[in-house]
Amino acid sequence: MSESQGLIIPAEWPSGLAQSVRYGVVLRPPHYAWDGDKFTCDQLLEVAPLHDVSLSGNVDIVMEGNFVGVVADSLLAAQEAARRLTVTWHPDGDNGQVAGVSPIAREVMRAATADEIAVSTAERDSQRHDHEYGWPSRMGWGDVPSWIIADCTADSLRVWGQTATPETLTRDLALLTGLDANSISLSVTSPEQISGLGRHCGDDAVVDAALMSHAIGRPVAVWLDASYVRDVHALGLAQRISIDAEREASGKILRYRNRQAHAASDVPAVGLLLSGAMTDDAADEARASAPGETASESVRLFSPYVFQDECLSARSEKERNASVETGSTDDTLADVQQAFARESFLDEVAHESGQDPIALRLQHLEDPRGIELIRSVSSRAQWQEAVSMSSGPRDTVTGRGFAYSQLPDRHQRVEEGVRSAWIADVEVNRITGDVTLTRLVVGQDGGPALDTARLQQTLQARVLGEAMPLLGNEAAFDEWGDGRRNIVTPVRRDSAMAVTDTAVTDMPPGDDARLTSMSGLPDDVDMSPGVAVIANALFDATGVRFRQPPFTARRVRQGISDRDMTSAAAIALRAERPASRWLKVTALTAVASAVAVAWPWKSAIAPISRPAANVYSAQTLERGRLVAAAGDCAACHTAENGVVNAGGRSFETPFGTLFSTNLTPDEKTGIGRWSYPAFERAMRHGISRDGHNLYPAFPYTAFAKVTDADMQALYAYLMVQPAVSTPPPDNALNFPFNRRELIGGWNSIYHDSTPFSPDPTQSELYNRGAYLSEGLGHCSACHTPRNALGAERGGNDYLSGAMVDGWEAPALTGMSRAPILWSEASLYDYLREGKSSLHGVASGPMAPVVAGLAELPEYDVRAIAHYVAAQMDAPAGDSLAMREEAQSRVARSQTSPAGMEGGERLFEGACASCHVEHLVPSFSSATTSLALNTNLHSASPDNTLQTILGGVHAEHAPGVGNMPGFSDSFTDAQVVTLTRYLQVRFAPDNPPWRDVEQRVSAIREEHRNASSSHP
């Protein structure tokens, strides 16, 4: 049916809903957090009523406790209303943080403590081992962006959406609405999302929608996308498990202590916590009353191993009720969390004490069935043989991990429970962080008459379902592809999956009851070692220990790069106390930058022979291709009608003429003999391989912000392109600018090589947009004015517009002179399609930029539009007022001004056939009226004159339209006459340009030079 902001409302929406549904957007408090026990957030003081009459349709504000939602007739209207709503919050002082710390610093500190658990690379060799493991409250924001709809009436609640934890979600919804669980119907997407790994933000979105629907009495749709990542961060960890152990010199563990920090394994939906519906009492009551659940499962600790001195403890407020049936979702999750911590810990002990991980476990097992199973699985998987390293690209590393578990059966009988041993092989791309599960050998001793084929089938389906949230991408500023995994699939679908059946068959066969229970998702398939086995394999492959799922590409990449940094500075830091790890990170950064400064700035980096093409895997090259597209290398490094990236394009600067260099991997004229360090130095510091300084026309000032992973992928991509031998022409710079060594001084004053760091107070979309715009996209290289020495000005001048290569790059701030204000939606159209109906087409140097952006995923282009819109303080969509203003401007320009017959004649002869609407449907006419054209409303005539003389040539952006240049058919005087006419007719409120005559001859001169230098 309808479309709003490019989100097409699905055809499969239940009939009737499409007509009655309204759209909700939530406003979360500036600060809200879950600390493991309690929820803290800023207090809602006041919501100022909306006075803005330009908002179309009805807007409802939903307030409950600290929950604020805006409901309107379209998503766009709701977003716009939410943006304009003034909400006052009282900062929550009592959240256990250091007084006087700014909210940003607090966020950073909190993120740091979570990351401490997430990844650790510290080595220790003492005989005491002590590690902490975490489990996130939300595994991620969801599977794919989608609509979540809730229809809440007095006696029923219907929900359409996605969830991985339907039982827990139903519990939350019952608590929210006071309805009986039977009156709540969930229509959730594919059941394979039920991974058993815990909740994702689908649940939060469902509760948001239900809350708003409950309040307004109509169905409400909420758009679940990466913006929900904020909930993932705010909720932090659901569970912390710390384990410590002491071992004797022989390697045997003497004392083993396992402490679980929190009573529950899951955290309620954010809407429930904000609205106040979930008080601590209510939470306990819900747990106690929900069928099959008590708080007791959190103390249901069990370890299959036998240690001399063992202590397993967990916090619990409720009496243990031993008669309770087990097998609920919560229970399974607690088992997975326990198995993850225990099996990761034993793997760490094994590595730290130089023992084989399997041998260590066998040493502490007394159960003969378990021992036999592990032996069988390890021989089946050929555990002793190293994972083959020879074949395959060299940017990937491989590793193998092991994990084991034994769980009591449904009647709490440990001896009869399922034993499960897993060995996983993974392949990790060091550059992109992508993890591929290449082989999985699972052995299960499931008691009697286990159907091996069935088990294999179940495992295959469930492992795929489980690995998706575990290994998938996540929305982040340096992630490509919107968390949709549209670039790579983390699990190789043809991966070998072997199952050894039970080695022990002394149970009486033919137990019909157990066979029946195998239908559906069998309870007795134990998935709990599945997370630990991947963490252990990842450690084997990368040397990085991940102590908290998920193992997304971004975390893996980050872990590897931190490890590289740590090993460089390891000697200096080995003696540090573990408690000061946060300080350590700061110290590391300092050390790393000190190393960078001490780099041999001026010396050449030794040439290498060109790397072989098969060194890099497809994932790396695909990432590199996107990086190159976002950085738009080809726009500058391709001469007119030249070979892509072979260089030779000329640039007129105030300091003389520069030519771009050959970026193809040709060994003589290109970068074929550049090593990665040489390439990186050039990109971040502007120094060529041979040591000479590059001119800052090459925006290394922006590229310094590019992350290591992107930089390496870009290098890989460029090195496998076809080599083209083209020596670049010599630069023709005026003295003193032809002295490159002066750039060294320039760099020390103007170049900031600090890497990009995201702003924790902003959304993921904003940070992604900022990363792309400030780094790779180098928007400011053209759109920020430069000082007399060619350095970009800062402060209010940032993105305030500048002249580049004879064209004006208009302001991307509030100083924009566009006759109709830009909106985020218009910016997106312009960047994605090369045209916007209220502003016109991309032309001049912007046309190849749009062509480059066409390669990027939609999310990235949206992110750039979002970031630029924020700089302009632009609204989300084009309002009715803006459209009316556009119509009135077009209407006013219909008549030709009197007394300008000369200009009118030129216009009618040369321009009107395409720029005047004359009833005939036309493919070649301009679609946007000149009355809306930014160039005619600018303070300078340059872009208008460039267009008249040179035309519009958006060859690389199909559909944008083309215009011939008139430099050969108009005299300077005619161009002046026409320009004056255009301004009076189409931009009457703009003061007439003063210097049109001089600019015409100057720009014509540039065109003449350009055409003579490219015969």
Binding site: P921, E955, P958, S969
Partner: protein, 164 residues
Amino acid sequence: MTQTLTLTVDRKTHVLAVSPNIPLLNVLRNDLALNGPKYGCGLGECGACSVLVDGMAARACVIPVSSVVGRDVTTLEGLVVDGRLDPVQQAFIDAQAAQCGYCLNGMIMTVRALLNRTPMATATQLRTALEYNLCRCGTHIEILAAAQRAVILNAASSQEASHE
């Protein structure tokens, strides 16, 4: 730099190795030997080069050939179906609306595009539609008469078509 482009012109598919940036007109005349569209001003001003792209008028001298990939291009030649002239072509013959005839391709294609959207175009609408098609011989009166006859023939032919 040449590329291999697939074009649909007059209901036939052509695979051509051409530079994607050269004007569509050059490809039609030089590579496909379709000489209905004429080279006039080369700046999109006179309309002699007009063709239809997806049924809309297009000045073939100013659009790069790459911009019509995946679209239906129709030239003056392509208006003839199974040996039968398009009613607009027939009307221009009936009204003998030519002196040198160089502009006629554009006149016919523009009227065709107009009638696709406005089948019962009035005399004033025809005048506005043809405002930016130039004729140097001064045959405007005959051309307008032909255009008005085209409306009648076109209506008759579509009625016929709906009866078949």
